[in-house]
């Protein structure tokens, strides 16, 4: 158990716990803040997996922009507080739990069956230059497409939220 693995375990536990709290918290704002913790831990995981650029982007965009957006949304929709208001009926929750648990079991079993013995080797963190080169050379088409998508989303959001 080397340091990398220990670090990963700590981050994973924090992130998992935070995720759980996101979906079970009684307070919307608390849930949003727990989300921040979860996202941050995911960024940490990226660092451990030799993807520093992705980690930074994660923090900037997810934590910085998306969560803020969510908070704005909470504010503008005057989200209420309390279990009864926030959660679905008990029956739905039980069903959701079953589905979630089933999904988790299935995924774990299959992945273990396929990659049970694989190991990630030690490697140097991916140079941003390499990432950039791959992005703008091999994946330039999807890149452009995503730009157009963002433009569309931008215009769409404005159109939708306009007060008319």
């Amino acid at each position: 158990m080397n340091g990398q693995e220990v670090a990963f375990l700590i981050l994973a536990v924090i992130g998992g716990l935070a995720g759980l709290l996101v979906v079970t918290s009684r307070n919307v704002v608390h849930a949003a803040l727990y989300l921040v913790v979860a996202l941050a831990s995911v960024a940490g995981v990226y660092l451990l997996l030799a993807a520093p650029f992705v980690a930074f982007v994660q923090v900037i965009i997810y934590v910085g922009a998306i969560v803020v957006l969510l908070l704005f949304g909470i504010m503008l929709t005057r989200a209420p507080v309390g279990r009864r208001v926030l959660d679905n009926t008990l029956r739905a929750r039980v069903g959701a739990f079953v589905v979630g648990a089933g999904l988790f079991t299935m995924l774990t079993v299959f992945l273990a069956g396929a990659f049970g013995s694989a190991r990630i080797s030690n490697q140097a963190a991916t140079a941003t230059a390499a990432l950039g080169e791959s992005l703008f050379r091999n994946y330039v088409l999807p890149f452009e497409a995503v730009s157009v998508l963002l433009l569309a989303a931008l215009i769409g959001a404005i159109v939708l939220a306009r007060r008319d």
């Binding site: 992705v54 949304g73 929750r93």
Partner: protein
């Protein structure tokens, strides 16, 4: 580290996200759960990228794309939620069931 670690982590986050999507009533909470799911997917991608030591680092590139698309999706999603709130004074998605039988 064993590949299973990040994979299980991703699977866990994904399942938690699924639970959240199905169990939460508030639309914004559902959007948050969706973000959790997307993150889980990203972790998966990056982990495999590290495992396979891809020349083209396609795993990370793809993760970047996912992040971008997630951002766009949240934007639009919230716009829709706002619109619904404006029209119906509620963001409980189980009350928005006009497409029922």
């Amino acid at each position: 580290m064993p590949l299973m670690y990040p994979l299980v982590f991703a699977a866990f986050l994904f399942s938690v996200g699924v639970y959240g999507v199905l169990a939460r009533r508030n639309a914004v909470m559902v959007l948050m759960s969706i973000e959790l799911m997307l993150n889980a997917v990203n972790v998966n991608l990056v982990a495999f990228n590290a495992y396979l030591r891809d020349q083209l680092v396609s795993g990370q590139v793809f993760a970047l794309f996912v992040i971008a698309v997630a951002a766009a999706e949240v934007g639009i999603g919230l716009a829709i939620v706002l619109l619904i709130f404006r029209n119906r004074e509620t963001v409980n998605i189980d009350e928005v069931d006009l497409l029922r039988w």
